[in-house]
C-alpha cells in the first residue's frame, strides 16, 4: 500500500541528493538573508555628511558656531572610535554653496547657525527629506549638541523636498524590483530552456553568431523588463501620490528605466550564457536578486549599511538605478546629478554584455 508513495519519495529524494548545488543554495539563501538583510537594515547610521555654515555678515565665527561644529563632528556612535562618528561635518563659508550641495545630493543636511547680529537667533536645519531615515537623526544631533552647549536657540527644520513618506521613498525602489523580477523570469531563461531541451543544438549549427544570440536575448529581455518597470512606475505614482514636476522629468524617468533594464538584463543573461539547468540558474539569480535589491538602497539608505556592504553598491546596477529614479521623481534633479548613475549603468551593461558573449558556449561541451 505504501509502495507507491515510497517510490515517489525515493525518486524525489534521490534527485534532491544528486544536486549538491541546490542543497547548498537552499542553506545558503537564509544565511545570506540573515547577513545581508540584517546588516543592511539594522546597521546604525553613521557618517551622515552634513554641511555647517554660519549666517553672514558679519564674517566672524561666533563661539556657538565654532563649538557646535566641533561637537557635531564628534558625536560618537557608542564607541570611542572615530570611524563610528555619526556626522561628517563639512564647514562651509557660503550658505548658498552649502544649499547647492544639498540640492545636488552631496550632503544630507545643512545646518545654518545664526550670526552675532541675528534677529531670532534660530538655528536652521535644511534636510534632504527624500531620505526618510537621516533627517530625524540630524535633527536629534543638533538638538543634543545645543543642549550640551547650553544654548537655547530655536531650531527651524526645513524639509527641502516637502513631506515625503516612506511609502513614496520605497515606491521608487519597487520600480527597480519590478525590473529585476521580470528579468528573473524573462531574461535568459529561454537560453537555459533551450539547453535543457537540447533545442540549442539546432541553431548552434547555423551561421548565427554567439554575439547575435546574446544580444537578441538581452534586447528581448530589456523590452520585457521595461514594460514591467514602466507599468509599476505608473502604479507607483497612483498609489503613493507622487507627482512629477515636468514632462522632461517623465522622459528622464523612461530613460533611466530603460538603461537600468539593460544593465540588469545583461547581468542576468551573462549568467544564463553559462548555466544549463533552470533550477540552478533560478537559485543563483534569486540570490543575486537578494544581494542587489538589499544593497540598492530601496528599503533603507545606503548610508546605514556597514562598509563592506556598501562596497557592493558600487558595482550594483540597482543602486544607480534607484538613485537616479529618486533624484528625478522625489528631488526633481536633472542630468547633473543622475549623469554619473547613467554612465555607471552603461559601463555595467557593456561589461556584462561582453562577459555574456565571451562566456557563451558555442559548442555542446
Amino acid at each position: 500500500m505504501l509502495r507507491g508513495p515510497l517510490a515517489i519519495f525515493k525518486r524525489d529524494f534521490k534527485k534532491f541528493l544528486s544536486n549538491p548545488f541546490i542543497i547548498m543554495m537552499t542553506l545558503f539563501m537564509p544565511i545570506m538573508y540573515l547577513i545581508i538583510f540584517g546588516s543592511a537594515m539594522g546597521g546604525t547610521i553613521s557618517h551622515i555628511p552634513v554641511g555647517v555654515v554660519q549666517e553672514v555678515p558679519p564674517y566672524q565665527d561666533t563661539p556657538l558656531f565654532t563649538n557646535a561644529s566641533y561637537q557635531l563632528n564628534h558625536i560618537s556612535q557608542g564607541s570611542e572610535n572615530d570611524a563610528e562618528k555619526q556626522l561628517d561635518v563639512t564647514l562651509y563659508t557660503d550658505e548658498v554653496q552649502a544649499k547647492q550641495d544639498l540640492q545636488d545630493g552631496k550632503i544630507s543636511a545643512v545646518i545654518v547657525f545664526p550670526s552675532s547680529v541675528s534677529n531670532d537667533n534660530a538655528v536652521r536645519v535644511y534636510v534632504d527629506s527624500s531620505d526618510s531615515i537621516t533627517p530625524p537623526l540630524v535633527e536629534g544631533a543638533v538638538t543634543s549638541v545645543l543642549e550640551q552647549l547650553g544654548a537655547h536657540n530655536p531650531i527651524i527644520i526645513d524639509k527641502i523636498y516637502g513631506d515625503i513618506t516612506y511609502l513614496q521613498f520605497f515606491g521608487v525602489g519597487v520600480i527597480m524590483m519590478a525590473i529585476f523580477t521580470s528579468t528573473m523570469f524573462g531574461g535568459g531563461i529561454a537560453l537555459i530552456k533551450d539547453r535543457e531541451n537540447g533545442i540549442h543544438e539546432g541553431y548552434l549549427v547555423t551561421p548565427v553568431k554567439r554575439s547575435s544570440i546574446v544580444m537578441g536575448i538581452i534586447s528581448s529581455g530589456t523590452v520585457r523588463a521595461f514594460i514591467a518597470g514602466f507599468t509599476i512606475f505608473w502604479i507607483d505614482l497612483l498609489i503613493t501620490g507622487i507627482t512629477l514636476q515636468s514632462f522632461q522629468d517623465f522622459l528622464l524617468v523612461l530613460l533611466v528605466i530603460l538603461i537600468a533594464c539593460m544593465g540588469v538584463t545583461s547581468l542576468v543573461v551573462s549568467f544564463a550564457s553559462r548555466f544549463s539547468s533552470q533550477q540552478e540558474y533560478s537559485s543563483v539569480i534569486a540570490f543575486f536578486n537578494l544581494m542587489l535589491f538589499m544593497t540598492s538602497g530601496a528599503f533603507y539608505p545606503v548610508i546605514g549599511m556597514p562598509g563592506w556592504l556598501r562596497w557592493i553598491t558600487v558595482i550594483n546596477p540597482e543602486y544607480y538605478g534607484i538613485h537616479a529614479l529618486r533624484s528625478i521623481i522625489l528631488r526633481n534633479q536633472g542630468f547633473n546629478v543622475i549623469g554619473i548613475d547613467l554612465i555607471a549603468l552603461l559601463i555595467f551593461s557593456s561589461v556584462m554584455i561582453i562577459l555574456g558573449i565571451v562566456t557563451f558556449r558555442r559548442t555542446l561541451e
Binding site: 533551450d194 541553431y203 547555423t206 539547468s277
Partner: protein, 373 residues
C-alpha cells in the same frame, strides 16, 4: 514516385584506395593514400577526416567515442554511417558540424578546417539532429521562419520557401499549429525539411527515420533521394540496415568509435568469403553431381538437406550458370531456385561478430556531451 525508393546505382568502387579494412576491427585503421587523397581533395572529396579522435572524460570514466577515424566523403554522394547505438556516429557528426571539437586529429569540410573555420562550415551545412530541436512552443511556420533567418535565407524568398517545405513535409495544413501538438513523425519531417531550408551543400542527417512508421520512413527516403538529385551531399547515420542499403552510395561501419569498413554495398558484400547463398529445390540428388558441384569454380560450400541444395558461391549470379549446366548434364530437374546476396546485416555480423540492434550498444553508450556540465 518510387515507393520504397529504388536503390541508386552504386557508385563503382574506386580502384585506387578503397579503404578496405585489413582484417577485423582490431588493427583496421584505414590509411588513405596521402598523395592522391590530398591532391584530388578539391574536387572529389567534400569531407576529409584524418585520424580524428574524441575522448569524453568524466570523473568516473573516460570514453573514447571516436577512435582514430580517417575517411573521405565524396561530393554528391549519399554516405551512410552505420553502427550500433553508442558506436560514435552522432559524436562524429557533431564534430563535423562544429558542435564538438575533436580531441585529436583533423577534419575538413569543403576544405575548411573544422577547428579553424567553423563559421564557414556552418554556412554550407544543414543538420538534422537526432533529437528534436524545433521549438515546441512555436508553430511549424515560425520554426521554419526562425531557421530561415538564422541560415540567411533572403527575406524575398523565405516565405515561398517555407510553404514549399511545409508542403513537402505534408504539414501545410498545420503550419500555424504549435509544434508541441505534432506527432513524432510530423516533428521529424519538419526537422528534416528545416535542415535544408537554405539548400545546403552538405546535409547531415543523424538517424533521420528513428521512431517513424514504415510509410513515414519511405517518405523521408524519397525526400533524401530527391535532395541528392539536386547535388546535395548527404551524410546519414542510421542503425537500420535496410535504410543504409536502399539509400547509400557508400557505407561506413562504425564500431566502438572505430571505422571497421567503408565501401560500396557491392564491395562490402565481397568481404564475406562465403559469398552469395544459392538455394536449389530438387526431387533427388545424384551423388556424382554433388561431387562435381563442389569442384565448380566460385563454389565454396555445398550442403544437401533432403530436397534442397544449399550452395555458397563467391559470385552467385556468375556461378549459377555453371551450376545449372551441371544439373542439366545429370538431368536433375530443378523445382525452385533462389540467390540471396548477403545483407548488410550479414556483413555487419561477419565483421563485428554481432548484430546491430542487439549488440552491446547500450553498455558501450558513449556519454556524449551531457546537458549538465
Amino acid at each position: 514516385m518510387h515507393l520504397f525508393g529504388q536503390k541508386k546505382d552504386p557508385v563503382p568502387a574506386p580502384q585506387t584506395s578503397p579503404e578496405l579494412p585489413k582484417e577485423a576491427a582490431g588493427n583496421a585503421t584505414p590509411q588513405p593514400d596521402r598523395q592522391t587523397g590530398w591532391s584530388t581533395a578539391g574536387d572529389s572529396a567534400i569531407i576529409r577526416i584524418d585520424h580524428l579522435s574524441k575522448v569524453f572524460a568524466s570523473k568516473t570514466k573516460t570514453v573514447t567515442a571516436v577512435n582514430d577515424v580517417s575517411f573521405e566523403v565524396k561530393r554528391g554522394e549519399i554516405f551512410g554511417l552505420l553502427g550500433a547505438n553508442g558506436a560514435g556516429k552522432s559524436t562524429l557528426i557533431r564534430i563535423l558540424t562544429t558542435l564538438l571539437s575533436p580531441t585529436s586529429g583533423q577534419a575538413f569540410v569543403n576544405n575548411y578546417d573544422i577547428t579553424q573555420d567553423p563559421e564557414k562550415i556552418r554556412e554550407i551545412i544543414g543538420v538534422c539532429a537526432q533529437n528534436y530541436t524545433s521549438d515546441s512552443e512555436l508553430t511549424a511556420y515560425d520554426n521554419l521562419e526562425f531557421y530561415g533567418k538564422l541560415e540567411n535565407v533572403p527575406d524575398s524568398i523565405l516565405q515561398d520557401r517555407i510553404w514549399e517545405l511545409l508542403k513537402m513535409a505534408g504539414l501545410a495544413d498545420r503550419a500555424y499549429m504549435p509544434v508541441g501538438t505534432f506527432s513524432g513523425g510530423m516533428k521529424r519531417k519538419l526537422e528534416i525539411v528545416r535542415a535544408f531550408i537554405h539548400r545546403p551543400l552538405i546535409l547531415f542527417l543523424d538517424e533521420p527515420t528513428i521512431g517513424l512508421d514504415p510509410e513515414a520512413r519511405r517518405e523521408v527516403w524519397q525526400q533524401i533521394m530527391m535532395l541528392n538529385r539536386e547535388n546535395t551531399t548527404i551524410i546519414l547515420t542510421t542503425h537500420y540496415m535496410d535504410e543504409a542499403e536502399k539509400l547509400c552510395d557508400r557505407i561506413a561501419f562504425v564500431e566502438k568509435g572505430r571505422l571497421i569498413a567503408l565501401d560500396t554495398m557491392e564491395n562490402l558484400r565481397k568481404l564475406i568469403p562465403a559469398g552469395d547463398l544459392i538455394e536449389i529445390g530438387i526431387d533427388h540428388m545424384d551423388p556424382r553431381a554433388e561431387e562435381e558441384l563442389r569442384s565448380v569454380p566460385l563454389v565454396n560450400a555445398v550442403s544437401v538437406v533432403e530436397h534442397k541444395i544449399m550452395i555458397s558461391a563467391t559470385n552467385g549470379s556468375e556461378a549459377i550458370l555453371s551450376i545449372l549446366a551441371l544439373f542439366e548434364k545429370f538431368q536433375i530437374p530443378v523445382s525452385s531456385l533462389s540467390i540471396r546476396s548477403p545483407s548488410l546485416e550479414d556483413i555487419f555480423i561477419y565483421l563485428t561478430g554481432k548484430g546491430l540492434d542487439n549488440g552491446n550498444g547500450e553498455g558501450n553508450d558513449a556519454p556524449g556531451p551531457g546537458r549538465k556540465r
